[in-house]
């Protein structure tokens, strides 16, 4: 089975440099040079990160004449946020049930204890 898109997105976001690049792009498009600026890193190294982000569908590279602006594509991020929301809800509810189950279990045991001679 091919890799699901969420896994690809997670892998792209696992690197702190790539996360910082994306955070920068949430404020607007930027050139590779601009994006490289905050990092102690060569342009080729930054380009490698941009390739990963592009392959994951998180950014697009424009084809304007002089430069190729990088732009954020928000929909994979929204998919991640949706999934995290669902998964969090699953655990919230599961733990609610665990809580209830253990409380009842411990209450029954105390009843039992108080009944014994």
């Amino acid at each position: 089975m091919s890799v699901d898109t969420l896994s690809t997105t997670f892998a792209a976001l696992a690197d702190p440099t790539r996360r910082a690049i994306l955070a920068r792009l949430t404020t607007g498009e930027a050139s590779v040079t601009e994006l490289a600026q905050p990092f102690d890193m060569t342009l080729p190294a930054v380009s490698k990160h941009l390739k990963v982000l592009e392959r994951a569908g998180l950014i697009t590279r424009g084809r304007e004449a002089q430069w190729r602006p990088c732009r954020l594509k928000a929909s994979p991020l929204k998919d991640v946020a949706d999934w995290v929301g669902h998964y969090r809800a699953f655990w919230e509810q599961s733990f609610d049930r665990l809580d209830q189950y253990l409380t009842e279990l411990q209450a029954k045991e105390h009843e039992h204890d108080s009944e014994s001679p």
């Binding site: 699901d4 892998a11 696992a14 996360r19 949430t26 509810q93 733990f95 049930r97």
Partner: protein, 174 residues
Amino acid sequence: MPQSQSEAAIESVAGEFVFTRVIDASRERVWQAFTESERLMQWWGPAGFTMLAANVDLRPGGAFHYGMRAPDGSEVWGKWVYREIVPPERLTVIASFSDEAADITRHPYSPDWPLELLSTMTLIEHEGRTTVTVQAVPHSATEIERRTFEDARDSMDEGYTGTLDKLAEYLAKV
């Protein structure tokens, strides 16, 4: 998507999903609840779901295979393949959706959702209460990262070999 939501999404990922809850019970109790079939049948699953099955084969490579009936009547099956079992403190599994035959399937609601999650649950007890932490990351993501890391490492090796060759040349001349 508003900027703040994008930023929140980026940070919420940061490689992993983490969820923590404090349970008013000892570690042993919580561990039993997660690893014993009869107990799992009594509490596992979200609100409104009823348990159909909870088969537990508690050993590395074994699995917790469960089935639930959703409020709308449909069946949802899941599987936790055990990787690491350290009672009563840590459980590492590969969690996925499944069918009744225990084969792995896509998520019933969305094909984009992770096929397999590498999840670690840790239990820490303090004064009779247990903090349960669940960390999960899409398993394929870790595989992609590993491959990406290996690709990068391979190209680093090439660069390194080049440098060593030059050093050898230089030393030969001296």
